[in-house]
Amino acid sequence: MPRPALRAVVPVALSLAAALALAGCAEAPGASGGSTGAGASGAITVDANDTACTLSATTAKAGTLTFQVTNSGSKVNEFYLYAEGDRIVSEIENITPGLSRELKVEISEPGTFTTSCKPGMVGDGIRGTFTVTGTAAKGSADSKVASAIADYRKFVASEADEFVGATKEFVAAVKSGDVARAKSLYAQARHPWEAIEPVAESFGDLDPRIDGREDVIADGMAFTGYHRLEKDLWKDGLQKDSGAIADRLLADVTEIAARSKTVEPTALSIANGAKALLDEVATGKITGEEERYSHTDLWDFDGNLEGSRQALAALRPVIAERDPALQKALDARFTELSALLAKHKTGADYVPYTALTAADIKELTVSLDALSEQVSKVPGVVAAR
């Protein structure tokens, strides 16, 4: 069964403070006569005690619903409105005995929901069914999603073109046997790839052929691509088949660039890609695993970070409308991590990973954790509701 389309006024993880702030967005209440009739003010009253959860109405028309929850029991109580699968549409917590609190929820599509009072804060609570009928106008953020997607596709196309151009130069240097030049081009040639990798990762063997590391490629697969040439350039010297590997690399990069441009992302896949890029930094770059011969990991770090930042820049209008506090936190955290990373540049180039101290790595990790926690909230905010 498809998930009912609906949206809360604020993101699902609604704090008490946010819930109270919603009082300012009140519209005409959509409550209608339910099983026992709506309250005179239009609010649905909820009498919550230690053993019962009694609503004045259990149906309402789509729009902004108001629940006035009063705790007449002796335990701290909570009130939840759930969609299918216990997904919280909205909730209000810390309703102490004797207290009355208001919860406003915007629901634009019809559907069946579950209400729950939770005396003592634990367990599934005392549940009931709640039905919403009709439809209401959607928030303007929904219309901004389409332009966000278009913006991100432009970014992907531009990076893909750059990847092909830079790879051509790198391949030419390898084939002419100019090791010094090839080494100088290597890290920056990979940079656009590191920025858009999640988009292109789904094309079968292309990703491992281009970017596979010797220890992680599948059994039976040849070790090719950038990391094979990295090993040749920095460790083994150019081999008899280095030229052929380079040719194959260029063909693969050209193909993956073309296919990347055909990907039709969603707001959710862009957001998940932004998170995946930071996960790449955490597991492969900040550990120095990715570039074990060239030690150019900080270039990959920069590429991943830039890709994540650009993905979220495309989504900015959506995030800023639905969760302005999150947008503010994202801005601050991206700025902080970029500044820390920039400390490790000398001129236009990054220092090798091996030049980092343990304290440097911890500082970057702490900042990356802080950013990643915020970025992990974006998919839930931008997902179609």
Binding site: V12, A13, D50, T51, S74, K75, E78, Y80, Y82, A83, G85, D86, R87, I88, E91, E93, N94, T96, K118, P119, G120, M121, V122, G123, D124, G125, I126, L268, R333, K362, V366, S367, D369, A370, L371, S372, E373, Q374, S376, K377, P379, G380, A383
Partner: protein, 431 residues
């Protein structure tokens, strides 16, 4: 409470079960709850196995003093020291408020955030990490402390520093590892289920990313002290009963004198500490393999108690008073002059006592085949400079035990008083 309340893991963790039961059950009032358990949420837990119920029960989060100090020592510990990584005072204040909310929820047996398990829907990372879902509250306590370094010039707290909160001096024989020492903040999570304690720290650390970063942490797998007369005295990894003469919860005058900061102790900016207590943490590595090759006589002489009963040497019962004048058959003191119990005893220290709340730990092995194990010493007191410092100076100088131990981590924290309804951590500090 369902049968799940009697999981094998928790039964195995229940050392001292019967003894603890009465005290904890008496203290918990209305809460006897399980995460995600309808019956429990509706109230009235069933009467299955009263002992297990008490180990499962919730300890009230709010009160005059923080829980986790005189609370009957739970079996498991996850302790973490953190550094503040932001310079923004408001972010730190907000985190302390967020932590209060999550800590209160978790100690009641609830998720760290409402609907934290799945309530965010499929596209959101769950707000609660989930590994404690369905487990009972398990006696979880979460205790916070502030280190001396928090009161530097970063957050405008210099004038709020209690005079008694000072870095510990160096002691003879210290082998302190900077990576296990100090910290701006600490969180002590104790529970009767290790998964519940680890869950608590994990979720608080997660809430803190960007504001705080973990400096070091320590797991403890078994309590080495009893903090209530209702608890049996547990054994440390030397195999000896430990903490027999501890200050205990039932000893009101002793607590007032030795554990709780009195209103007159701090005039000025540190007055917020009244009702709080200072925590000294020391990671004491034991040279287990060497100890194990030591004769019983030598072991008992080093400790000053007999190994089986725990009685002071020259006496027969664990709780017999220590008689330092008594001579053995050879005419020498029954309790040797360098025995641990003699040097650590109040009569040797001008009446000083502390409330010990330590845990046995092992962090695996050390790379050359020896256990990296010992005692994670935690002790609460009214004034570290007048209690722990003279005590440790005396021990560091002469304790026969020093041959078998090494202090390699150290920290001191000011643990504020308990919270009243509606209050949160940091409120008094940032007032």
């Amino acid at each position: 409470m369902s049968d799940e309340g009697l999981s094998r893991r928790r039964l195995l963790g229940a050392s001292g079960t019967a003894a603890v039961a009465g005290v904890v059950a008496g203290a918990v009032g209305g809460y006897a709850v399980s995460r995600g358990d309808d019956d429990a949420a509706a109230g009235a837990p069933s009467s299955t196995a009263a002992a297990a119920l008490a180990l499962d029960a919730a300890i009230p989060f709010r009160g005059e003093h923080q829980a986790g100090i005189i609370t009957p020592a739970q079996d498991r510990l996850h302790f973490v020291a953190l550094d503040v990584v932001t310079t923004d005072r408001e972010q730190l204040r907000q985190l302390l408020e967020d932590w209060t909310r999550a800590a209160e929820r978790m100690t009641a047996g609830a998720e760290a955030a409402p609907g934290g398990l799945v309530g965010g829907g499929p596209n959101r990372a769950p707000e609660d990490t989930g590994e404690a879902y369905g487990l009972p509250a398990s006696g979880l306590t979460i205790t916070i402390g502030y280190g001396p370094s928090l009161f530097d010039d970063r957050f405008g707290l210099a004038s709020r520093r209690p005079a008694a909160l000072q870095d510990l001096p160096a002691f003879t024989g210290d082998q302190l590892d900077p990576r296990r020492t100090g910290g701006d903040l600490c969180i002590q999570a104790c529970a009767n289920d290790p998964q519940v304690a680890v869950h608590a720290v994990r979720n608080l650390v997660r809430l803190g990313f960007g504001v705080v970063a973990v400096r070091w942490s320590q797991l403890g797998f078994g309590r080495t002290s009893s903090t209530s007369t209702a608890q049996a005295t547990p054994r440390n990894l030397f195999g000896f009963k430990d903490g027999t003469a501890n200050v205990k919860a039932e000893e009101a005058a002793g607590l007032a004198e030795h554990v709780w900061v009195a209103p007159d102790d701090e005039s000025g900016g540190g007055a917020w500490m009244a009702g709080g207590s200072y925590l000294v943490a020391r990671r004491i590595r034991m040279h287990i393999e060497i100890w194990d090759r030591t004769s019983l006589q030598e072991q008992e002489d080093v400790i000053g108690r007999d190994k089986k009963e725990g009685a002071p040497l020259g006496r027969s019962k664990e709780f017999d008073p220590l008689d330092f004048a008594r001579k053995g058959p050879d005419g020498r003191p029954a309790i040797p002059v360098d025995a641990h119990v003699r040097l650590a005893h109040e009569s040797n220290l001008g009446g000083i006592r502390i409330l010990r709340r330590g845990y046995n730990f092992t962090d695996g092995s050390d790379g050359v085949g020896h256990l990296d194990a010992g005692l994670f010493f935690l002790a609460y007191m009214r004034h570290p400079g007048r209690q722990f410092v003279p005590m440790q100076r005396a021990l560091a100088k002469a304790d026969g035990l020093n041959e078998y131990i090494e202090h390699n981590g150290s920290a001191v924290f000011a643990c504020p008083p308990g919270l009243k309804d509606g209050e949160h951590w940091g409120q008094a500090l940032f007032a």
